[in-house]
Symmetry: C2
């Protein structure tokens, strides 16, 4: 029997709510005066993102017994924040492709991406105010700050060999885990879940996000046509991902000189990627990151035990396995 | 006797609160992990902006009898939103100077300006949540959306001869009036002012902002070394300001051809600015905008009559005169 992916099972179980989220997103990205806004937004939002973050919010709320309307608002909020971030990311990274299509900055221009991103941020704040829950507003506005701080940190950490594991974790939280955690936590809070359950939901989202991002960074070091990511992209972009940070901790003089030249100074030749991989392997850096990622996935699953027995909980558990499946 | 500017009198009357606002801004733009953030923010925030928006919030709250601490949070919030907007504006406009200093996008790069702007937006939302007032959150998040929408509108309206006066007003609200109105209105709401007073404060801020921006756009058509703005900048940047919109409404064929070539197609020669000015003058466009700006200043002052008799109210009244003084 073919095993369905957990995100597809979540999508099926949450189909009516997801439809409401999509309707809300569509109505809120409209602009009576500036048609450029829905054009740019729709290009990205309709491009077939997996809606993981809204599903996390919906699942968390439903699992905790929520039967009101506002988990839909919060789910749309996190998707708007995510989309705004992608628009700005693509400007900052000068990306040309996203979700298999040309980026908005390429189709329109950087200006449109910056300003439409700002509009979606503002819309997300309008949306999150509507449920009228101050604790939820605290959670989501804190997440927005962590995301933005992580982005700046990523910018300044690139090619900086002094970047440590703590900084890497902050960047990963900014890129992925902070919004995952805010998505699950706010779902629990709007449902009136107990403090212990809310803590568990936050821990789940945070650990899931870290596991996902660590696995994603590790895949970048995997020479394969099937992963869908370009082998060695991070190395070429001189990103300080955790494997390199670990390898630097025990580097000998030659290795340190190698990283200084290739990542610190950006002076790379064709053979360097293979050399880099050999060093990471020799220093056990890839294996160490792999173990960390699996550890975070396990922590995510462990947190779920504090939550009510529910088919959605089982799907979230399987989702934690799924995000590290490619490296397990 | 030398007449002191109303903003200087406001600054003196609000000195202790402004000091608290500055302290709060300084503490909230810090980032433990990413020192780039306070570097970029401080470059702009410490550059001697006039703090008009925070003063509007403080004055509105104080005038309505507020004696709590949260007008300081709201004042810092509006300054953060303003600063974030400036950072993104300078990227979008490719500006090289702001407040007499090189722009952040020039000193660092566009990436830093985009991401630090995002950080300040997120920080502003954290700050506005702290007073725990849902009505205030509605006001400020709506203003943020109007600002962002206005920015996109300005981008798409440039060089578009079909831009009408209604669109111009939306752009002006986005650029200036929406945040002015949110600044005064939120000050009244946090002070627990009556609905009539809150309405009056919103009307004052909105009309003041429109009067200020209309006057600013008009100054652009004034050939003088003393205005501090470059004569004809908007024309060269093909902006559809109100004077051009008005002149187009009654344009003959030759004039329409002129505007189509110079603003629509951006095909300008050295003599065109003078020709443009002659057309605007012939069509009474400058005079008509001037009357509108003075009308909005009068409307701002009229709104203040609904508010308590207070020295701060008198300063706000004088401020409405001051923003149109250059064109009166």
């Amino acid at each position: 029997m073919l095993q369905t992916k957990p995100q597809d099972r979540l999508s099926a179980a949450l189909a009516p709510e997801l439809e409401q989220v999509n309707d809300l997103i569509r109505s809120r990205m409209a602009s009576r005066h500036a048609p450029r806004i829905p054009e740019v937004s729709a290009h990205l939002i309709e491009a077939g993102g997996k809606r993981i973050r809204p599903m996390l919010t919906l699942a968390a709320a439903k699992m905790c017994g929520y039967d009101g309307p506002y988990h839909v608002h919060l789910a749309a909020t996190v998707e708007f924040i995510h989309t705004a971030t992608l628009l700005h990311d693509d400007v900052v990274d000068e990306s040309r492709q996203r979700r298999g299509r040309p980026t908005a900055n390429l189709l329109w221009d950087n200006k449109s991406s910056v300003l439409v991103g700002d509009y979606l941020f503002a819309r997300s704040f309008q949306l999150m105010v509507e449920p009228g829950s101050l604790p939820v507003l605290g959670i989501l506005s804190n997440a927005a700050a962590t995301i933005a701080e992580g982005e700046v940190l990523q910018l300044t950490a690139a090619s900086n060999l002094a970047t440590d594991a703590d900084t890497y974790l902050q960047i990963v939280r900014g890129k992925t885990a902070a919004l995952f955690a805010a998505a699950t936590e706010s779902g629990g809070v709007i449902a009136g879940a107990s403090e212990a359950q809310v803590d568990a939901l936050r821990t789940y989202g945070d650990a899931l996000g870290i596991a996902f991002q660590m696995a994603d960074d590790l895949i970048d070091w995997t020479p394969s046509e099937t992963t869908g990511k370009g082998f060695g992209d991070d190395f070429r972009e001189r990103k300080m991902t955790l494997a390199v940070i670990r390898a630097l901790e025990t580097a000998d003089d030659d290795e340190r000189a190698f990283w200084t030249r290739t990542i610190g100074k950006g002076n790379q030749t064709d053979d360097d990627l293979e050399t880099a991989l050999a060093i990471l392997d020799r220093r056990g850096a890839l294996e160490s990151v792999r173990e960390d990622a699996l550890g975070y996935a396990a922590r995510a699953k462990e947190a779920l035990t504090a939550l009510p027995d529910h088919e959605l909980r089982d799907m979230l558990r399987d989702l934690a396995d799924f995000v590290v499946e490619r490296i397990a």
